[in-house]
């Protein structure tokens, strides 16, 4: 029996749609209970402790002192304002750049689409702080390679510069470079799922190419675009590494670097917790707005009969489109990695490549002299793998329960799974530090506190990914399975999960890559035994060891890329639909 018949049969049965909350007791109730508990512990516990410290004063008595200071102290208000400006700009820029590129890759006959996708994955895999360091090498006002080249070209005196990366504009630019792939992946996946039928129907009815894009493709891709813009905004708002590298030299704070500075001696966690609450509230409001805007529309596109996607023929414009994509990719990928490669292999960065300037000294230092390298490599890979497996499983269950409204309280689950995105990693790190250095769960110093932190931080991205994948799969398919006697979990395993293969692999990769990129919580929670590469790189950056950073950064990228490619090619798990990613 084909899916077509099954779903048709299922759709005809009265009440099939509505049995959810009142349905017979099955394993889904248990799953709900477990999910709710895990999520509460993951998200609730650190937030609880943050709340406690935000509303108490230094002697531990209840107080609004921290908030009074937050809203009157200019050294706290300015960073808050700067962060909002930066994050809004990043959300807009990243989406404006990512959406057209995603359309070209997913829906046009542009040449080298797979290569472009792979290169965008490279920018996705790049830790933002590494990108920021690379852009320092490229565009620091005086020593930056681009500025050196610019002065040489026009024969200008020293200290005249073309771009200064140590500025708000520089920060927005670099943030956008590494937020854009988030939007791209979401939009491209959504476009992949839009079947040709509707577009064909429109074409048959005589609609022009632009009209089809405007009235069919764009509306169908809109939820993904909005979700992408939102993720870019929130990522930027909570990002720590990039502003720590670019904003501090320019003499300003963003809210995350300010919060970080509040943990310097003498630490002020209460004020830091208070400073993070506006971020939490802004996020909740935005997520509500998103679901309000999109809530009433139906977006089920992968129904019983699905046609292949159809590509728009660009004709002579194919090459112009490719050139545009490659130009866009210069900023997050080509230029930064060339800069890192140069820094990794030369003695004096500012001078041209010559036999005299080439050196293997940095490679030797990193792999043979620098004692944290080996442990950090092992830790990073181990933590990333374990977090990705646990995180994907959790996100899958939660997104299933939430999108299928399977149990009472599903919206709470959805909220809990999205909430971490509102908490800057650094604040979450502090909340977790307070929560897990006391009974019942004393985890600080073990690998589990790191893994819990990673799963918590990456959960929203994985959950969003799987949720949008779920909303693309018609519920009828599952209902058919359930009518034939399968429980919710069995249906999930046998029908939904295989259909979601791309989504699941993407979610797994999201988390894996996320861990490789994560710095802000790790920097609060690591100990000598649980040190990870991003922390090692950040430490090296604070003392300006560019050569070693470049070697480690390139190693990090190669490893992440290798694992991601492997995950997409695992037989029976990745290949067909996901091959493109």
């Amino acid at each position: 029996m084909s899916f077509d018949n099954l779903s048709a049969a299922a759709a005809r049965l009265p009440g099939a749609r509505h049995r959810g909350p009142l349905g017979r007791l099955d394993a889904s109730k248990l799953a709900f209970g477990v999910c709710a508990l895990v999520l509460l512990a993951l998200v609730g516990l650190p937030l609880f402790w943050l709340g406690v410290s935000a509303f108490t004063n230094k002697s531990g008595a209840p107080s609004l002192e921290n908030f009074a200071r937050l809203f009157t102290d200019p050294t706290l208000l300015a960073p808050l304002r700067i962060s909002l400006v930066v994050a809004t700009s990043v959300g807009c820029f990243a989406t404006l750049i990512a959406a057209p590129v995603a359309w070209l890759v997913a829906r046009s006959d542009m040449p080298a689409r797979r290569i472009v996708r792979a290169l965008i994955t490279a920018s996705f895999v790049t830790p933002p702080f590494l990108g920021a360091i690379a852009w320092e090498v490229l565009a620091a006002p005086n020593s930056g390679l681009i500025n050196v080249w610019y002065r040489g070209l026009y024969d200008l005196p020293p200290f005249v510069h073309f771009i200064d990366i140590y500025s708000i504009e520089g920060l927005i630019f670099v943030d956008s470079c590494y937020a854009f792939p988030f939007v791209f992946v979401l939009v491209a996946n959504a476009l992949d799922r839009i079947p040709a039928d509707m577009e064909d129907a429109a074409a048959i009815l005589g609609a022009s190419g632009w009209r089809i894009i405007r009235t069919i493709t764009l509306p169908l891709a809109l939820p993904a675009m909005l979700a992408g813009a939102l993720i870019a905004f929130l990522r930027s708002l909570t990002l720590f590494g990039t502003p720590a590298i670019l904003a501090l030299p320019a003499g300003f704070h963003t809210i995350t670097t300010k919060i970080w500075s509040l943990f310097q001696y003498p630490p002020n966690p209460g004020l830091a917790a208070a400073a993070s609450l506006p971020l939490l509230i802004a996020t909740i409001v935005l997520l509500k707005a998103q679901s309000w805007i999109l809530g009433r529309r139906g977006y089920v596109v992968l129904g019983g009969r699905s046609g292949a996607t159809r590509r728009v023929e660009l004709g002579a414009w194919r090459w112009a489109a490719l050139a545009l994509c490659l130009l866009v990719l210069c900023f997050p990928v080509f230029l930064p990695y060339l800069a890192l490669l140069k820094a990794a292999l030369t003695k004096r960065l500012g001078e041209p490549l010559s036999a005299d300037n080439l050196t293997l000294q940095h490679l030797r230092f990193v792999f043979f002299e620098f004692s944290p390298t080996r442990l950090a490599l092992r830790n990073t890979l181990l933590f990333a793998f374990v977090s990705a497996v646990l995180g994907t499983a959790l996100a899958l269950l939660v997104s299933y329960l939430a999108t299928r409204k399977a149990v009472f309280g599903h919206s709470v689950l959805g909220f809990l799974a999205t909430a971490p995105i509102a908490v800057p990693g650094i604040v979450l790190g502090v909340g977790m530090f307070i929560a897990y250095t006391r009974p019942p769960l004393v985890l600080y110093g073990t690998m589990w506190i790191m893994i819990i932190a990673y799963v918590t931080i990456e959960l929203p991205a994985a959950y969003q990914q799987l949720k949008s994948a779920f909303s693309g799969v018609a519920e009828e398919l599952e209902e058919a399975g359930r009518i034939l006697g399968a429980g919710r979990l069995r249906t999930l395993k046998d029908i939904t999960a295989p259909l979601l293969r791309t989504g699941i692999i993407t979610a797994w990769c999201f988390i894996f890559i996320g861990v490789m990129r994560e710095l802000s919580a790790a920097i609060m929670l690591f100990t000598a035994e649980t040190k990870v590469l991003p922390v090692v790189i950040y430490d090296l950056n604070e003392s300006g060891d560019l050569g070693a950073i470049s070697v480690l950064g390139i190693t990090l990228l190669v490893l992440t890329f290798a694992v991601t490619l492997l995950a997409n090619r695992l037989p029976g798990f990745g290949a067909p639909a996901a091959g493109a990613k």
């Binding site: 020293p158 200290f159 501090l248 003499g251 310097q264 500012g350 004393v442 100990t527 300006g544």
Partner: protein
């Protein structure tokens, strides 16, 4: 030989003033016995939390491993204030990870000692040569020292045009041309900021804050930014990276400002709950041997208080430099004020 002794005496004088009390007899020294070496070897490892430049730290580690094969050294390098933050976090979390700790903010040792985090341990060399720069109860001693001078890039600034004093840095021509470290991160810079604000007044730092100074974190970074030509002048930062860069052919040079150059002592101590107690003690003893101290000077560009060391040719001997004295006890009480003022004047 005489002149080296004189140099260390000059520092010793500064340090005595620092501690505010007469140097009293240290607890008895603990020599390195074959039993200690054996016990250390059984532990097989030592975890060294330090703020010294990572390449210098790894060289010290390599020298230790060469002398005591079979004992691994894990270098955990971060800025002093972050080392402090981590030790504090681990104390709260009841975790014992660090064996030997080195910070360039000598005030940290006063706090750690008060909190009972340190073990009293007096290596032979400390007992013999560091009476004036060690804790009277034997909890720590000054492992290394450096200065926070002015520096400039010789490619862009002629020696005659280089600033001669801190006051010169306020000239309009240096606006947007300077780089400096951050007291919230670097113990060297915190100590220097304390000494400068005490001797020159906050007024000077307020004016410096209006010079559009590029702000980096560790005191090891301004010399590196100077060398790549990112800024031609370094307003503060450590002397030892300037030396090592200059001697490796990079276009940088040192200026000892006429008002005096901030002196920074950087002690080392064994942790009370060191997970490898014997290896920690062996390592602490190793840190103060004349060989290691000479290594710090020759390879690291640092200053040593060990009288059996020789100053490096081509570097101005310490006794010829007018110093601003350090005062860790006063820093303990002033940390809040220093950081608040700094945030006000420099924006970060």
């Amino acid at each position: 030989m005489r002149q080296y002794r004189a140099a260390s005496l000059a520092i010793a004088a500064a340090l005595i003033a620092t501690s505010g009390r007469e140097a009293i007899a240290l607890p008895p020294a603990s020599p390195v016995t074959p039993e200690l070496v054996d016990a250390a070897r059984k532990e097989g490892k030592i975890s060294f939390y330090t703020a010294v430049d990572v390449e210098v730290a790894e060289k010290v580690a390599a020298a230790f491993k060469a002398k005591y094969p079979g004992i691994d050294v894990l270098v955990e390098r971060a800025g002093s204030e972050r080392v402090f933050q981590r030790v504090e976090q681990e104390r709260v979390g009841n975790i014992a990870n660090a064996d030997v700790v080195n910070s360039s903010d000598a005030a940290h040792y006063i706090i750690w000692k008060r909190e009972g985090l340190l073990a009293a341990y007096v290596p032979d060399d400390v007992a013999a040569f560091y009476k004036d720069s060690a804790d009277p109860e034997g909890y720590y001693a000054t492992w290394r020292a450096t200065l926070s001078p002015i520096g400039y890039n010789t490619k862009y600034v002629k020696p005659s045009d280089a600033p001669k004093s801190f006051a010169d840095l306020l000239a309009p021509k240096w606006k947007g041309m300077m780089v400096k470290g951050h007291p919230g991160y670097s113990g060297t810079i915190l100590t220097a900021t304390f000494e400068i604000s005490r001797d020159l007044g906050w007024d000077y730092l307020q004016k410096l804050g209006q010079q559009k100074v590029m702000q980096v974190q560790s005191s090891t970074e301004p010399p590196k930014k100077l060398a790549v030509g990112e800024r031609p002048i370094m307003a503060d930062g450590n002397e030892y990276n300037l030396f090592t860069l200059k001697e490796s052919g990079q276009p940088v040079d040192v200026v000892y400002p006429s008002e005096g150059t901030p002196f920074i002592s950087s002690p080392s101590a064994v942790m009370a709950k060191a997970p490898h107690p014997n290896a920690a003690r062996l390592f602490q003893s190793f840190l103060f041997t004349p060989e290691t101290q000479q290594l710090l000077i020759d390879v690291g560009g640092l200053r040593s208080l060990h009288p059996k060391t020789k100053e490096h040719a081509g570097r101005t001997p310490l006794k010829e430099i007018k110093l601003m004295r350090d005062d860790p006890a006063a820093v303990v009480d002033k940390v809040d004020e220093i950081k608040a003022n700094y945030a006000k004047y420099f924006g970060t």
